[in-house]
Symmetry: C2
Subunit: 152 residues, 2 copies
């Protein structure tokens, strides 16, 4: 398990090569040791760390929180209350986003029921043009619904 190339570490962890370098740059990974010619070297522990990050990212944790979680992981004997509260906060934001998206879904469903006539009477266009046709107040709904820092 010793001395993997960055490509091998990428394959094993599921984190892309460029992303590994990006994480190192952001301080989520310690600076990797290098070969004489300057290539990064990884071991099993590094791959584990990468998998941890990937897993947390899949669950939507922002990098800042992941940095905190990694620090906590490295300090056995400390209370896990901080990690727990971090996860709880994240859960709350996920729940908020679900609520926002559900409201969004309601509005969209209501406005989609066009009978195929012309745009002059299209319900989609009409609804967008006239906020008064909306059921609820959805100002900044999409904003609340967003996952910080993930696009597409």
């Amino acid at each position: 398990m010793r001395d993997l190339t960055i490509g091998e570490a990428a394959r094993q962890s599921g984190v892309k090569v460029n992303t590994i370098r990006f994480y190192e740059d952001r301080g989520l990974l310690p600076e990797a040791p290098r070969t004489e010619s300057g290539r990064r070297l990884y071991d099993g522990a590094a791959v584990g760390r990468l998998a941890f990050i990937r897993h947390a990212r899949d669950l939507g944790f922002p990098l800042e929180d992941i940095a905190d979680l990694l620090a906590l992981q490295g300090q056995p004997g400390t209370s896990c209350a901080p990690a727990d509260s971090l996860a709880r906060r994240h859960l709350a934001s996920v729940e908020g986003r679900i609520a926002a998206l559900t409201a969004l879904k309601g509005e969209l469903t209501r406005m989609i029921a066009c009978d195929g006539s012309d745009t002059a009477h299209c319900r989609v266009i009409e609804s967008l043009a006239d906020h008064a046709l909306c059921a609820g107040d959805h100002a900044r709904l999409a904003e609340v619904a967003a996952v910080p820092g993930v696009s597409d």
Copy 2:
């Protein structure tokens, strides 16, 4: 309703001054006529267009789709099928995101139940470190859950 300043148009439409200029730059608004000294002028139609954009953004439509919707709005007599299908596609993506976030919520709920002991046995940390402890497959869940281009 004639010849509003950009600030007045911003107040009436709920779109910020900088954002109005940004939309013009992106071609969502026609180039505004100017005063002799170079200041933009807006009328009621322009404010309506801005409100339309804001409303669509609140509902999470990407700017590209909004440009299409605006073009359709400007062409009465055309079938509204394109607008309808655009909205349906958007609804589908909202539903997909709700599903992803609901799965995410499940995983987070499962991993939050720490009894306050030390990090060596913290369920949050453990779950993140070991993917095998997870119930479902949540690869790229957060990615699916994301709203394109909206960040906090």
